[in-house]
């Protein structure tokens, strides 16, 4: 019985949160990796693109709520998501048109584009703070739990409870749908294949009659959709705060690199690797060990390997270890 309790505690505090967080990171990392593969630079503005998308979703959610629209047990934000995606798409296309396209025409070196993306980052960051302010915003509604601790205890009779938040469930489901759609698009459709071809060999893609501007446009559209979805899911699960999205940049880059930059599959794997390491290393294991260990060995301290504030350090160390031993990342991306 104690083992079951340990298992439940483990799921409740480690596995489920890590899966949800990993899905959010994976969606973010997919966007970064697509830009890296096709536009050939690391987009420092990605975190702020996520923030912008999430902000739109928050505003539209508020609007819907004020109109009395709701999505039953699900958060209204899910209804707002498509509109937010459209808005973000418009923004990134505008950015590409006004900013990035010029540098493509100049055949600018990738580093120049990185610096340009810093400028875009400033602007988007300012824009988000300008519109919604720098503070925390809550916008999740609907049913809070798929299964709550009390229900679970009543159901199983276990001492330890298990709670699955609606947002966690939604995160995983939406992430799976997004990833499936993306892979179907990249591997099965003509446009998707042309994007892969362009990423693989730009000159040959041109010689095959692939229009680079179209490829770039589709890339931005997909990135906008992924970033907004990731941003909204993260905001629903935790809360919406512009600065937090900026800080997500590090774990997202780490995920993309750990998985192998330029490899979509790697981005997903990297997201989960980073999320699981962060959560397991910063979790206080006392609760789980209490059940799993015999009474005499029961730990007196919290058994927390690192304080939660060091979660950045975790993604960073994982990154270094992976790069030391497997420089191309877990999945063979472009060599780093």
């Amino acid at each position: 019985m104690d083992l079951f309790n340990a298992l439940v505690a483990l799921s409740n505090f480690v596995i489920i949160p890590a899966i949800a967080y990993g899905s959010q990171l994976a969606l973010g990392a997919l966007g970064v990796t697509l830009i890296y593969g096709i536009l050939r630079f690391s987009n420092f503005a990605h975190g702020d693109t996520m923030a912008f998308g999430a902000m739109l979703a928050v505003l539209i959610t508020w609007l819907l709520q004020s109109m009395g629209v709701s999505f039953g047990p699900l958060p209204t934000a899910l209804l707002a998501l498509p509109f937010a995606i459209l808005g973000t798409m418009a923004l990134v296309l505008l950015t590409d048109r006004v900013v990035y396209r010029f540098y493509r025409e100049q055949k600018a070196k990738p580093v120049i584009l990185v610096i340009v993306s810093m400028g875009v980052m400033f602007i988007m960051n300012g824009l988000v703070r300008f519109i919604i302010g720098p503070n925390d915003q809550r916008f999740s509604d609907g049913e809070r739990f798929i299964i709550s601790v009390r229900e679970f205890k009543a159901l199983t009779g276990l001492k330890e409870g298990l709670a699955i938040k609606t947002t966690q469930g939604i995160t995983v489901v939406v992430a799976i749908i997004c990833v499936a759609l993306l892979f179907w698009f990249l591997n099965r459709t003509r446009t998707g294949k042309s994007m892969r071809a362009y990423s693989d060999n730009e000159d040959l893609a041109l010689l095959s009659g692939i229009n680079p501007e179209r490829v770039v446009m589709y890339t931005w559209l997909i990135v906008a959709a992924l970033a907004t979805t990731a941003g909204v899911l993260y905001g629903l699960d935790k809360s919406f705060k512009p600065f937090v999205y900026f800080q997500l940049l590090l774990p997202i880059f780490a995920s993309a690199i750990v998985g192998g930059l330029g490899s979509p599959l790697g981005a997903i794997a990297g997201g989960f690797v980073i999320a699981f390491s962060e959560v397991t290393i910063t979790y206080a294991w006392k609760k789980v060990l209490k059940y799993a260990m015999p009474e005499s060995l029961e730990p007196s301290s919290l058994v927390q390997l690192l304080s939660t504030d060091y979660k950045f350090a975790v993604s960073f160390v994982i990154l270094i270890v992976v790069l030391l031993f497997k420089p191309t990342g877990l999945f063979k991306g472009k060599s780093v």
Partner: protein, 275 residues
């Protein structure tokens, strides 16, 4: 420092932020300083003079290359003679100070390489000529990207020409051997059903046996009626299959004639074919 400030990356090679892999180094050149019309053929690069960049030194000097349907034209010459450069000039990747390029009577001198592909030119670059991360079949599919009609017939034809590709259709092209990669590259170019096929050193870096096989395939392609313009390092073998041969020396037409004539020419043999 380079001339273009946007290309000044200060030597940064940080692969986490910059991804130079697969990037474009093709610089389309447009137009010509002075049109020329001296010969007539299906595809003709007429009296071309020019070099790379806006004001780079001239590499080609009044060089003419032409090919007609059913023919294999081969450009040979010593290292640095401008063979590949001549090919690139025909394909629109070189600034021409003088000369014209005409395809089927139409002046295409001011078209970009992509537009020339749309006009019916198929080009197989010397290196990086396949999508390594994509399967063989996807490579062919991408070759047919500009076609709106059903290209399955063409794909069957390509598989007919290169049966090995059919067996490996679902393998990533990057995993194939050198000779097979070249077949993928040629097959990809054929997918547009080009009016003319241009090959830049198709046998570079393959073993002699594979080279012979590749030449056989190229002859087969030519038998379907497509004119082929080819740059070759292996001058003797190439001239043996050539209907027309151009020997370039320092960017100029040194000798021109049928493959047989050139092989028989005492001077050509002495200077380029090793006796």
């Amino acid at each position: 420092m380079t001339g273009n400030p946007y290309q000044d990356d200060r030597g940064n090679k940080d692969a986490t932020i910059a991804n130079p892999k697969g990037g474009s180094d093709m610089t389309p050149a447009m137009g010509t300083g002075k049109e020329m019309n001296t010969t007539d053929a299906f595809l003709v690069g007429d009296s071309m003079t020019g070099g790379y960049g806006k004001d780079g030194p001239d590499i080609l000097h009044d060089c003419t290359i032409a090919v007609n349907p059913g023919e294999i034209a081969v450009i040979v010459g010593p290292n640095g003679a401008g063979k590949s450069t001549g090919m690139k000039a025909v394909f629109g990747m070189l600034n021409l100070r003088q000369g014209s390029v005409r395809l089927d009577g139409e002046d295409i001198t001011s078209l970009s390489p992509q537009d020339r592909v749309a006009k019916g030119m198929g080009f197989v670059p010397q290196t990086n000529n396949i999508f390594t991360s994509m399967t063989v079949e996807e490579n062919l599919e991408m070759g047919a990207f500009i076609r709106k009609d059903d290209f399955l017939d063409t794909m069957e034809q390509v598989y007919g020409l290169f049966p090995i590709l059919k067996d490996k259709r679902n393998q990533p092209a990057g995993e194939l051997s050198g000779g097979q990669r070249q077949q993928v590259a040629v097959g990809r170019a054929l997918m547009t059903q080009p009016k003319v096929l241009m090959l830049d050193e198709p046998t570079a870096g393959v073993s002699p046996i594979v080279m012979d096989e590749l030449f056989d395939r190229i002859i087969e392609v030519s038998r379907t009626g497509i004119p082929i313009l080819m740059v070759e390092q292996n001058a003797r073998q190439a001239l043996e299959i050539a209907d027309k041969g151009y020997v370039l020396v320092q960017g100029r037409n040194a000798f021109t004639g049928t493959g047989k004539d050139l092989l028989a020419d005492e001077e050509v043999r002495k200077s380029f074919l090793g006796g």
